[in-house]
């Protein structure tokens, strides 16, 4: 019997941990109990170190955010762009397809066995102060943000943002140090951001995040051919679906119960607001295409277009 040690840097109740556990029970079932997981009580590394932790075999299976190690992954930044989609399943599955077709051969994730990639739900502007419907409204508030494309985008928009780790959101918002944060719906519930009053949504989200679900390659290579086939069978799109469905579910719960209960007012960004973001994002996409092509991706713009078309097809 093979036991995989799984590590998770979010609490065991968080949807990613749950999805990881669900994937593990699928693994156990499909292999008739020959393979199973052992969830470690504490993460083996902080989020940025998780990729290396899997590569080096500290744990056998885990997930990470590609943007947590800036400079390392370029192709995967497409999954951080605005206006991708409103459902995590659709963007995740589409992303997985594009990933297998174009990104995987380029080997940015070399050193680990990629089981699948996925994204979260649409990124939203949350704040404690006032309804934000225009870029000017947003410019009058102080926001906590994470890294990645949204960091570049908000710089370009001239917003007053500060890069802080997600778990600090509660403290920053509850004390009023910051007025808001950019998050998917789920995080308002999971980080207990009960002080949030306003949400500004964008069709397809203002930003997203690229996640990778991975296994230690040595552990994979040591499996029997039969077991390898089981792992392969539930890799790729299966992973994208398990994590994406889980995310959509908690997004909905947060939106429909938690946020309703605390009285969060949802507004949609105005047409002009959206166009302004689009204009600034266009430059970032050019920059990304150049960087990705330098890393060996052919026809980056076409890949991006195919990614968008694939998402549209799925929803």
């Amino acid at each position: 019997q093979t036991v995989f040690n799984t590590s998770s840097w979010v609490p065991p109740t968080h949807t990613i941990s749950v999805a990881q556990a669900n994937w593990c029970s699928e693994l156990e079932k499909e292999s008739s109990g020959r393979m199973k997981c052992n969830a470690l009580p504490k993460a083996v590394a902080a989020p940025p170190g998780t990729f290396d932790a899997i590569r080096d075999g500290l744990a056998d299976i885990s997930f990470t955010v590609d943007g947590y190690t800036p400079g390392r992954f370029i192709n995967t930044q497409v999954a951080e762009f605005p206006f991708l989609g409103d459902s995590s399943v659709a963007t995740s599955v589409a992303y997985q397809r594009i990933y297998s077709k174009y990104f995987a051969p380029l080997g940015e994730h070399r050193g680990v066995k990629v089981l699948g990639v996925f994204t979260h739900g649409p990124g939203i502007i949350f704040n404690t102060k006032k309804p934000v419907t225009s870029a000017a409204d947003a410019a009058s508030l102080k926001f906590r943000i994470g890294g990645g494309n949204i960091n570049e985008l908000s710089k370009a928009m001239g917003w007053n943002t500060t890069l802080k780790p997600a778990p600090e959101s509660f403290e920053l918002l509850s004390t009023g140090v910051m007025d808001g944060t950019f998050f998917p719906d789920e995080s308002v519930a999971s980080f207990k951001l009960s002080m949030i009053r306003h949400a500004t949504t964008f069709p397809g989200g203002l930003y997203n995040t690229s996640f990778v679900f991975m296994m230690n390659p040595g552990k994979y290579d040591a499996l029997s051919a039969e077991d390898k086939a089981v792992v392969d069978k539930i890799s790729g799109e299966r992973v994208a679906r398990v994590f994406g469905e889980g995310w959509d579910k908690v997004d909905a719960v947060s939106r429909d119960t938690v946020q309703k209960a605390q009285g969060v007012q949802r507004v949609q960004a105005s047409e002009s607001f959206i166009n302004e973001v689009k204009a600034k994002q266009a430059a970032l996409e050019d920059r990304w295409a150049a960087a990705a092509e330098a890393k060996g991706l052919k026809n980056a713009k076409a890949v991006l277009a195919e990614f968008r078309a694939e998402i549209a097809k799925l929803k």
Binding site: P41, P48, P165, E168, F170, T175, V177, F191
Partner: protein
């Protein structure tokens, strides 16, 4: 469980061979990890822990609170606190020890670190107690235990760490620490009363102050009040986070020391270097504790502890009591931050699942850490005193601290029995 036990045993054996604790924990954790997971994962894990702990924004509270404490000490605020407390209780039996505890509480309100508080008070209070014929056991016991008030009374490094890993409101945690801090001062003073009742020669009375002198002494502590208001008010009022509060507090203390003329360039340099040395010493232990923790993470110990605790879930309060028992036992043999890092991910979900308040549990955890820091044989505050007072034997420090450990355990019982001591003030915040 057996692997973890052997790991502890190895740390102890090496530590008793006079190998520095940090090195002993690193070796034991590394070898344990290597045997359980292979040598190359062990090497990767160790280097990752070193990098992540060193390159860590939130942990900047530690050097900054230490720096703040050292500036405050140079500004003479600790002496003024001690003089003020002494003016009221010094003439009693054991009065200087009580004054030291009360002054530690006051100093704790502007210093986030237990070690810095103990170190500072030992410089101020120990010479006075010695001059008045106090026994070393009572003198060091009161200073070591009083020092732990530094992490209970806000600001507090441990509460910041707890708040971060459990995502609990740090502002609420800070406010929650105030009343338990007062209870702690009372309990520790009762321990002094008990010790001097058993042995009147341990702490003979000092001179009595008249009311004019007392009023004069109490006026001297306005500086402490200003700094406390700056740091806690700033965190409370949403001007800065608790992490940033440490930097602002250090800067405030710097200006205080500067305006009091206590800082020449040379003194400034000494304060800074001293703070970095304390920081390096603490981080050496912290990193080693994390290396060791990563090893224990792969043993069955956390799971065994959880299963053991969960047996008691039909009686939720028993779960808490059993957990505290485990912590007391671990606290004797382990470095406290390591305990918190290792057990909170396992215990915290159980506690909140049973419907207990995370702020209240945070205060219990700090209390446990406080006890751990003074419970022999592995107690950081005891080591600090031992190194600051070379002519006091470690065995005397061990012996002297026992009544105070007992008083702390009584206090822990009170906090478990009456949660509102911790929760009343935060409930007024109405967030």
């Amino acid at each position: 469980m057996i692997e973890a036990f052997l790991g502890f045993l190895a740390v102890f054996t090496m530590a008793f061979m006079r190998i520095p604790l940090a090195v002993a924990m690193t070796i034991s954790g590394f070898v344990g990890m290597g045997l359980m997971r292979g040598w190359s994962p062990a090497m990767a894990s160790t280097s990752q822990v070193i990098f992540e702990t060193g390159f860590h924004y939130v942990l900047s509270v530690i050097p900054l609170f230490v720096l703040m404490g050292n500036f405050v000490a140079k500004a003479g605020l600790a002496r003024e606190l001690f003089t003020a407390a002494n003016a009221f209780v010094g003439h009693r039996r054991g009065g200087l020890a009580m004054a030291s505890i009360i002054a530690s509480g006051g100093f704790g309100s502007i210093c986030g670190s237990s070690i810095a508080t103990a170190a500072t008070m030992s410089r101020v209070a120990y010479p006075q107690m010695r001059a008045h014929g106090y026994k070393d056991t009572l003198a060091t016991g009161s200073i070591a235990s009083g020092g732990t008030l530094g992490i209970l009374i806000p600001p507090s490094t441990i509460l910041v760490v707890y708040g971060i890993i459990t995502e609990t409101d740090i502002g609420k945690l800070f406010i929650a620490g105030i009343l338990p801090g007062v209870v702690a001062i009372v309990c520790l003073c009762m321990a002094v009363v008990f010790v001097t009742w058993r042995d009147p020669l341990a702490g003979p009375p000092a001179e009595r102050f008249n009311w004019t002198q007392r009023l004069k002494a109490i006026r001297g502590i306005w500086g402490v009040a200003v700094l406390f208001a700056l740091v806690i008010g700033g965190i409370y009022g949403g001007v800065f986070t608790a992490t940033e509060g440490a930097g602002v507090g250090a800067a405030g203390a710097f200006f205080f020391a500067l305006f009091r003329g206590a800082l020449t360039p040379r003194v400034l340099m000494d304060v800074l270097v001293e703070s970095t040395r304390t920081t390096a010493m603490l981080f050496a232990i912290l990193i080693a504790a994390m290396v060791f923790t990563n090893f224990v993470n792969f043993t069955t110990m956390p799971g065994d502890l959880r299963d053991f605790v969960l047996q008691f879930s039909p009686h939720p309060i028993m779960v808490v009591v059993v957990m505290m028992g485990i912590y007391l036992a671990l606290g004797m043999v382990m470095e406290e931050l390591a305990i918190v890092l290792l057990t909170i991910p396992v215990f915290f979900p159980i506690i909140t699942g049973l419907g207990f308040d995370p702020v209240w549990f945070g205060i219990l955890i700090v209390t446990i850490v406080e006890i751990g820091m003074i419970s022999p044989p592995v107690g950081l505050n005891l080591f600090v005193l031992n190194s600051l007072l070379p002519d006091v034997k470690l065995s005397a420090i061990y012996k002297g601290v026992i009544p105070f450990v007992m008083a702390d355990i009584v206090r822990l019982g009170i906090l478990i029995a009456v949660p509102s001591i911790a929760l009343w003030l935060p409930s007024l915040m109405g967030r």
